[in-house]
Symmetry: C2
Subunit: 391 residues, 2 copies
């Protein structure tokens, strides 16, 4: 194996793949990134795999000699990212007795100044990335995918014992795409029209799909897509037997999917509402951030009082020990006055994710689900359960 | 107590003083900031004191009623920093039975929107900041003080059992100012000409001073001075009986000083050198940063080989387990070739702090102190002890 590439190509691709390198590998070879260099196509691919999440990226280089080898991911990434811009030569040493005096495979990295030698491992020990055969691809627009992930990922559960809730539930239909996430206390749903790029094959009606994908993998997908050159490109999606694969340009992300029945979240969203409010999102959020200083001391509970005569809502927290806080913000209100209490953290996280200047808050009573949604733009629904108000 | 001030004045001054609020107060009142409002001068001062470090700042406000009160520092700071720009009214409630239903002192904070009530404490419990009487002030230029702290603070010891080494040793003479710090492995000394601002009183020869001040207090001093409007102003320094006070504009920082004999560091710096090198600081530093990736695995030891024929020095690390790294950088060398080894962290920290493009490295043998200094500009000396080279 011998190749010449630029520092920026190697460094960028290493840092992308490194996200699938486990921090505590169960097997030594998993701490490596698999480098494959092809002299025929002048393509270099890098692969990392923690046995659940797999990432493969590739880039163009001058490949003088084909080969595949497993290189220590962290060490190679740490050095490469600190090198100046310029050309780098990577070469597998023919001899098995190295400068360092030991035996084994040695790869020499030669940037414009300096010279680094790394102990490498044979490619044969590195596990294969899962591939999906006999599955027709679904095509999603990268932009729609990014929006959907932004509006749902934050609401997944961090509690590993709640398996299926640690993922985002993805529902792909002919022209629509739905992302849902819930941790049992709140729910976020994003519905998109999936406008595939014109040059991508159209999705077949037979290709409908429902799957729950771990949040960890989707967070990496979101980062990789945000790094990609064009947000209008098509991402191909393959799904089979507990595995899902996202593929675009020269990048691929594979992940196991989560087992178990995803909650029937649609039935949690009320069909009609007795009360309806229009609010400025940023004003609401910044008042909550101040009130949160007190709510921290009070089980995070904030009281929201709807006052239709004054056309405002009042947020308040009272704590015996430290004091009290109260803020009012203007609102367009239809429906009767009511006091309702929330966990302030769920309220703030939902408001942060809603992609709109003005939002709509809809509710029935003070113990039934409350819905927040953007007025206009992306179709997103955020549901927060009220909490009991203890005076 | 009643006053009206701007959000930015209150917030800025609270965040400065809050640095002297202990995170785990030994007495409840120390978690507070003492607010003093004077209707005659329209000045408000804020004081925090952890019994070692004390900070007092003051600002102008419309004081409607004089008074002194202890307010919960973190809570007040958290709310104030989240408020929008605008006027804030702070008022001590006349009644001792508050909204919250308890008894005690309540302070109401009324920004342009909202209303916050905080439980406060009486001023009488708050300890007095140490004051220094019968000591004539020394005047230092803020700019010189900042430069001296930047060049020395990083070399102090973090080991609390080495008391006197956790501080910076300050030596003030008529026209000179010297800062020294060492942790036993390396030493940083900055010498400045203390050009006092013209309008400041001249220092008296009688006012010579040698004192060791805790790094923690000096880090806060550095931040406060960096925030101050003018770097050319004079800082008054008072010293007495284990206490030191820095005072400028409306700000004051007091600190206990460290007891114990400071090492006679001057005698560690060799008087003459057999070898003398001129190097580009950034080039040296970035090569070290890459080599450090390997040195991490090898007790942080880097070998520096001086090659006068090639006009370069070579940095190298060899590790049996992971590989090896080598970088050469050009140097102007006088003296014979030699190999010498360092703890790479000490080398990097020193190079980061040296305020110059080109630096000078001076040494005798590979087991005696090595000196790094800027060529031109600030007079700074950085001494690093070599380590034994194990091949």
């Amino acid at each position: 194996m011998k190749l010449v590439c630029t520092q920026s190509d190697l460094s960028t691709n290493l840092s992308l793949t490194s996200r699938a390198v486990p921090s505590r590998p169960t097997h030594p070879v998993l701490a490596n990134v698999l480098l494959n260099a092809d002299a025929e196509t002048n393509q270099v691919s890098l692969t990392a795999f923690d046995l659940s999440l797999g990432i493969r990226t590739s880039f163009t280089a001058e490949v003088l000699e084909s080969g595949t080898i497993a290189l220590p991911a962290k060490l190679l990434n740490d050095i490469t990212s600190r090198l100046n811009d310029g050309e780098i030569t990577l070469e597998e040493e023919a001899t098995s007795v190295d400068d360092v005096g030991g035996e084994g495979i040695i790869v020499t990295l030669t940037p414009e100044s300096g010279r680094y030698q790394l102990r490498a491992m044979g490619a044969e020990e590195f596990p294969e990335l899962p591939t999906i055969q006999d599955s027709q691809a679904l095509y999603l627009s990268a932009e729609v995918l990014i929006e959907g992930l932004r509006g749902s990922l934050f609401a997944t559960s961090a509690d590993e014992t709640k398996q299926v809730l640690t993922g985002v539930h993805l529902k792909v239909q002919k022209d629509t795409l739905e992302f849902a996430a819930t941790d049992g206390h709140r729910l976020a749903v994003v519905e998109s029209t999936n406008v595939s790029p014109e040059d991508a094959p159209k999705n077949d009606t037979a290709n409908e799909l429902e799957v729950t994908v771990p949040a960890k993998a989707l967070r990496e997908l979101e980062k990789m897509l945000a790094h990609s050159s064009s947000s209008e490109e098509a991402v191909a999606l393959y799904f089979d037997q507990g595995q899902i694969v996202f593929e675009w340009q020269h990048q691929r992300l594979t992940s196991r999917t989560l087992e178990g029945q995803y909650p029937a979240y649609r039935q949690l969203i009320p069909a009609s509402f007795e009360r309806d409010l229009a609010l400025d999102r940023k004003q609401f959020l910044s008042a909550l951030e101040r009130i949160a200083v007190f709510a921290d001391q009070k089980n995070n509970v904030v009281k929201v009082s709807i006052d239709s005569a004054a056309d405002e809502i009042t947020l308040s927290v009272e704590s015996q020990d430290i004091g009290s806080g109260r803020e009012s913000i203007p609102a367009q209100i239809s429906g009767e006055d009511i006091d309702i209490a929330f966990n302030i953290k769920y309220l703030m996280e939902g408001l942060k994710a809603l992609p709109a200047t003005e939002i709509v808050m809809q509710l029935n009573s003070n113990l039934t689900p409350v819905i927040f949604s953007p007025s206009g733009g992306l179709k997103m629904t955020y549901l927060a359960m009220p909490v009991q108000l203890r005076e």
